[in-house]
């Protein structure tokens, strides 16, 4: 998040001190799944902090906090999976694309896009099936159905399936995916 490279001024001034500056912060490109995940994340942070606080200051940690924190983490992650899918930020191996000719790379990358859609779509269906089988399970300490957590995961998979379809269309339109040109991800980070 440091944007030192763009500015012309030296990073170290005459008196020998560092003056790196932060790049301007852009928040407009975040979409709905980012913000849902964001809400779950802060709920998680507050819960864990509350637990920390009750344990050290009041010397009596609230037992429900641990359980709810675990579920909030699951929700953050599964909605976050949709967000990382949209930005093509999943950890993947792009080495093959340095070896094969460009046209073969395009074919393989398209198959990969298809696999991703199929996976998320099938996982959405499986989550739905699981919710049917486990309909009666309750959480351990809190009197809520486990299906509340599973539903969030299911929504995450559905969103990820939709986003991976969008990514596939986008890749087909512009003629390459991040697998073929990993440098576009590096440039985003800089």
């Amino acid at each position: 998040m440091n944007g030192a490279a763009e500015s012309a001024a030296p990073v170290i001034d005459e008196s020998g001190h560092f003056h790196a500056e932060d790049a301007p912060i852009e928040l407009s490109h975040y979409t709905i799944e980012d913000w849902i995940s964001f809400a779950f994340f802060w709920a998680l942070a507050l819960t864990v902090f509350y637990q920390f606080f009750t344990r050290y200051v009041i010397n009596d940690s609230a037992a429900w906090t641990e359980e709810i924190a675990r579920y909030l983490l699951i929700c953050t992650v599964f909605i976050g999976i949709a967000a990382t899918t949209r930005r093509s930020r999943h950890i993947q191996v792009d080495f093959l694309y340095r070896l094969v000719p460009q046209r073969a790379g395009r074919v393989i990358a398209t198959v990969v896009d298809g696999v991703r859609i199929a996976f998320f779509a099938y996982m959405s269906v499986l989550t739905w099936q699981m919710m049917g089988k486990m309909g009666n399970y309750r959480m351990t300490l809190i009197d809520l159905p486990m299906n509340a957590v599973y539903a969030v995961c299911g929504i995450g998979f559905v969103l990820a399936a939709i986003r991976s379809l969008q990514v596939m269309i986008e890749n087909a339109r512009r003629g390459y995916s991040v697998l073929e040109r990993p440098e576009i991800l590096i440039d985003e980070t800089l």
Binding site: N2, A4, F18, I25, A45, A69, R70, V115, T127, L190
Partner: protein, 467 residues
């Protein structure tokens, strides 16, 4: 049906299907082909795979690093490093290494480290007339320090997979980190001698001694606290008094970097004395960084906090998605006895730990070239752990070897990932970046050999502190 499991996994992963989908997807293929289990087990297993209290540490370790990675704190840490070693010959090379030691592992991934800090470091070195090759080489090499010196995300993941204590692994990382830093600084000194470089700032007693005093304060603080508590001061009282004194001193003497450097010290101190669990330690580090950024230095804005949270969520989701998928995949590997077969096959041609370690190093360096370290840990630990247990190798020691290998793999020519990132950052060709990094493999592989074959470097400190 085992070939279907492994075959589909390797086919997917090598063609660029996300690692997590390769794992969960091949598990699905296996389950659909055998028909032994209902396929929704995959979903259930994935969700319960991340339903664990120790894993709550992951997002907060990542966040603590992201909170420290803003210009307000970066400048302070680099000013401190500049005061301490900037006047040496080849000054900015040393600053680069020391900066990485302090920032060590606070940020999520080595790739983000190389891109974020690397950009500033390379710019500063370019301003001061260093050649691109040297700047890129030292930046790449020092990026490997991050995950070795605690706190570190790869260690948290390894600890979970290998069932060892996070605190013990963190302690075990300290001395190897020092060994690495020393060997790299010697390499800088050698370059400086060869090219007859001078220092980058003037030598001033005032500035150097101030930096030394700051270092002293950081080291003394936990010792004094520990002593006060031993002498019978109540724990909470000692804590409150200590922090009040620390903030007063920071305000009075305008320290550059005492407070930021205190973050890992408090974290590791708290964890090793058992004051807090890794998760609580991570939360405490976040609270500390927030106090510094929002209240004490006021260098952080609310917009930045939103961005930090978003970055944290992204890294957390990508890592935890693999953790979730690895839990079903690893379970199938064990259930189908693949891990047993690998162990038997390995043990059929070597029973000597040092031969095994040599082979394991080669394997991990190779894997590290292609795979993100956390992903590699999640795949390799379940496969290698049975052999390690059979051979009586300490899993903590092996954790260090593994993480260091995976880090070196990231920059190992011809295909490490950090290599590609830095080529982009520095606007160099892959060939020139490769040549730039090559000499730095000498100190890195030397320390790898030392850390592999002298287990005391890793194990002495945790044993001395009673683990």
């Amino acid at each position: 049906m085992v070939p279907a499991l492994l075959g589909s996994f390797l086919a997917m992963m090598s063609t660029g299907v996300p690692v997590a989908i390769s794992m969960a997807g091949s598990a699905l293929v296996y389950i659909l082909l055998t028909g032994d289990l209902p396929p929704f087990v995959v979903v259930h297993r994935m969700i319960s795979g991340i339903d664990s209290f120790p894993l709550l540490a992951v997002p907060f370790f990542i966040m603590a690093g992201n909170l420290m990675n803003n210009a307000g704190i970066t400048n302070r840490i680099y000013n401190f490093a500049l005061s301490l070693v900037g006047w040496l010959r080849g000054g900015l090379g040393h600053v680069n290494i020391l900066g990485s030691v302090i920032f060590a592992g606070m940020s999520g991934t080595a790739i983000a480290d190389a891109a974020g800090l690397g950009t500033i470091e390379i710019k500063a070195m370019k301003d001061h007339g260093y050649d691109m090759e040297f700047s890129v080489g030292v930046t790449a090499a020092s990026a490997t320090l991050g995950p070795i010196i605690p706190p570190s995300l790869p260690f948290v993941i390894y600890a979970m997979m290998a069932n060892v204590s996070v605190g013990q692994l963190f302690l075990a990382g300290i001395l190897p980190g020092v060994v690495l830093a020393i060997l790299m600084m010697l390499t800088v000194a050698w370059f400086a001698h060869k090219h007859k470089w001078g220092g980058d700032i003037r030598f001033e007693w005032r500035r150097v001694s101030k930096a030394v005093i700051e270092l002293g304060v950081v080291i003394a603080f936990p010792l004094v606290m520990w002593g006060a508590i031993k002498l019978g001061l109540a724990f909470n009282l000692a804590l409150v008094l200590g922090f009040v004194l620390l903030f007063v001193a920071d305000w009075r003497f305008r320290f550059d970097a005492v407070m930021p450097i205190m973050t890992p010290v408090l974290l590791i101190g708290g964890m090793t004395t058992g004051v807090f669990t890794p998760t609580e330690g991570a939360i405490a580090a976040c609270v500390w960084a927030l106090i510094l950024g929002l209240v004490w230095y006021r260098t952080m804005t609310w917009r930045m906090l939103v961005k930090v949270a978003m970055d944290t969520i992204e890294t957390t989701s990508t890592v935890m998605f693999i953790v979730a998928a690895a839990s079903i995949f690893g379970w199938l590997l064990t259930a189908t006895r693949v891990t047993d077969m690998v162990a038997m096959w390995t043990l059929s041609f070597t029973h000597t730990p040092w031969v095994f370690l040599l082979l394991a190093n080669a394997l991990m360096l190779f894997v590290g070239c292609f795979l993100e370290p956390t992903a590699a840990i999640l795949i390799l630990v379940p496969v290698l752990m049975p052999v390690i247990q059979q051979l009586g190798i300490d899993p903590v020691h092996f954790g260090l070897i593994m993480v260091l290998n995976l880090m070196i793999g990231l920059l190992h020519p011809p295909m490490g990932m950090v290599l590609f990132v830095l080529a982009r950052v520095a606007n160099l060709s892959i060939e020139r970046t490769t040549m730039a990094i090559l000499p730095w493999l000498v100190p890195l592989l030397l320390s790898l050999a030392l850390i592999t074959y002298v287990p005391q470097i890793s194990l002495w400190l945790p044993h001395a502190l009673g683990y």
